[in-house]
Symmetry: C2
Subunit: 307 residues, 2 copies
């Protein structure tokens, strides 16, 4: 069996105190099977976003250790920042990457949620694919009114947590845990300064406008460059391939005689999403990811580690 | 410093005896830093091709061990097969992959060649980028007349080996060692059964016909499917990107109203070659390989191993 690989992107409500940030991140370092890809603290948001890749077990272990630090060091009663939050450890999504199905990630998220409550005393809500109630699929529903409102309303039956007693942790609030698909942040820059064009195209391509079902997007001005941008999240890249998004935008832009100047992938992207679009453009037939040296190597290293 | 990564594709003159093939391959298994990606024995060619990826030192160690087995088990005096050869260990090319320049691979090939002679007694010729004489860049020049002719002509000054006495190893012959770029086998299938069209296009696109400098290619019939194929080797994918090859063929095929039906990558390909072509088609701007999760992971695993 091949090593199951997940991504995990825990969000902590701390973006200002470097020593706390480092203490939270420390458990993710030097741990076999848990790779710390990136962490970014934002002072305005007062929030820390950590990117992990690895195997479920070591990532779970490190999350518990890191969460204990966050519970000790962060007090939501004194926390202010631009980003909505209900907990010291605000959100923990598990994302299947390789050799792991979404349903396995749902099981992982729920088991982890129960353990998380046992070990930290922080109540847990399950969201997205791991939601136990359909309305809790949406993060914004769970987080409504943030910590300040939830601490009062948590006793109301419709706001009871999925795991734990219906009372907030006095300093660490509550935590949202779940499973979701990998999200790609993708921008298409247009050769026009006319913001109306970008907004119209964003509307045509996004799901809320009747476009592609797994695309969210808005039109933005890139004033310094005299360009505009269709800024998107692709929330299911297997169903809405990047090439389809690009070519749909190109088609819509023709109406105004506007060219695509460039495209941008913001942040991380799985190899499969790139190979899929390349196969379209190059008409590649019968291509297997294991033909890519680096991917074959990664598979082999995974096998070695298992022995 | 990041771990230097090479590919190495040793070719052995044994494609028929499974127990010998397994004994030759065994030293490449279970060795940290040396990953056995693939090995293929061909009975008609009577030849074994091994694909290794990893770090220079462990790959070199394993090559010496494996070569000792080949010297013991293979006798060129009794060897027959369809593929040209001069030695039991016929060719060993070192190919830079990541965090390693071609010049480092040349140094590696030459140092390894000297050690190889010391440990096996088999004389060595250096080829391609590691050649000491310009005419020996070409493998076919070194291998002219094969084992049967070389064993007589090796005493002639122009056929003296680069390392070792000017006499052949009585059973294991001589070995060609060198450094070269990664070679991509790439086919473009055309929607015509007219072989003349495929041949004309192959001629237009390949270097010998005045086309792209690092493309070799021929036109072939795919009779079962009623198609034809431009079958190519891209010998420097950094200079002759795949997208340029595809679009040049598309342009030429227009003359006959012939469409590209599909393309095929045969065997392994480095991620960089794919990302480069994708960036062209998608107009990707500022994209970094480390944004690809799997490549970032591979880098991190490399760093972990070094500690």
């Amino acid at each position: 069996m091949k090593t199951p690989l997940i991504e995990c992107v825990p969000n902590y409500s701390e973006g200002r105190r470097p020593e706390v940030i480092e203490a939270i991140v420390e458990p993710f370092r030097h741990r076999p099977g848990c790779v710390l890809l990136d962490y970014r603290a934002d002072k305005d948001h007062n929030r820390l976003v950590v990117s992990l890749v690895g195997e479920p077990e070591p990532i779970s272990e490190a999350l518990i250790e890191s969460s204990r630090v966050a519970v000790t060091k962060i007090n939501l009663e004194h926390h202010q920042g631009g980003h909505p939050r209900i907990g010291a450890i605000d959100v923990i999504p598990f994302i299947p990457l390789r050799n792991m199905a979404m349903k396995d990630c749902v099981v992982l998220a729920r088991q982890f949620g129960m353990r998380f409550y046992e070990e930290t005393g922080v109540p847990v809500y399950f969201y997205e694919e791991a939601a136990l109630k359909s309305e809790r699929r949406a993060l914004e529903v769970i987080r409504k009114g943030q910590f300040e409102v939830l601490k009062l309303e948590i006793t109301r039956q419709d706001r009871h947590p999925d795991v734990g007693e219906p009372k907030i942790h006095p300093t660490a609030g509550a935590t949202v845990i779940g499973a979701r698909k990998f999200l790609i942040a993708f921008n298409v820059n247009l050769g026009t300064s006319d913001l109306k064009v970008a907004k119209e195209i964003a509307k045509a391509v996004r799901s809320s406008g009747g476009g592609l079902c797994y695309v969210k997007g808005i039109g933005l001005a890139l004033q310094d460059r005299g360009l505009t941008q269709v800024s998107m999240n692709i929330v299911d890249y297997e169903k809405n391939a990047l090439y389809r998004v690009v070519e749909l935008i190109r088609m819509e832009a023709k109406r105004w005689g506007v060219p695509i100047v460039e495209t941008e992938v913001y942040g991380m992207i799985p190899a499969a999403a790139l190979l899929d679009s390349l196969a379209y453009y190059m008409q590649l037939s019968g291509f297997e990811p294991k033909q890519v040296i680096e991917l074959a190597l990664l598979d082999q290293l995974g096998k070695e580690e298992q022995k």
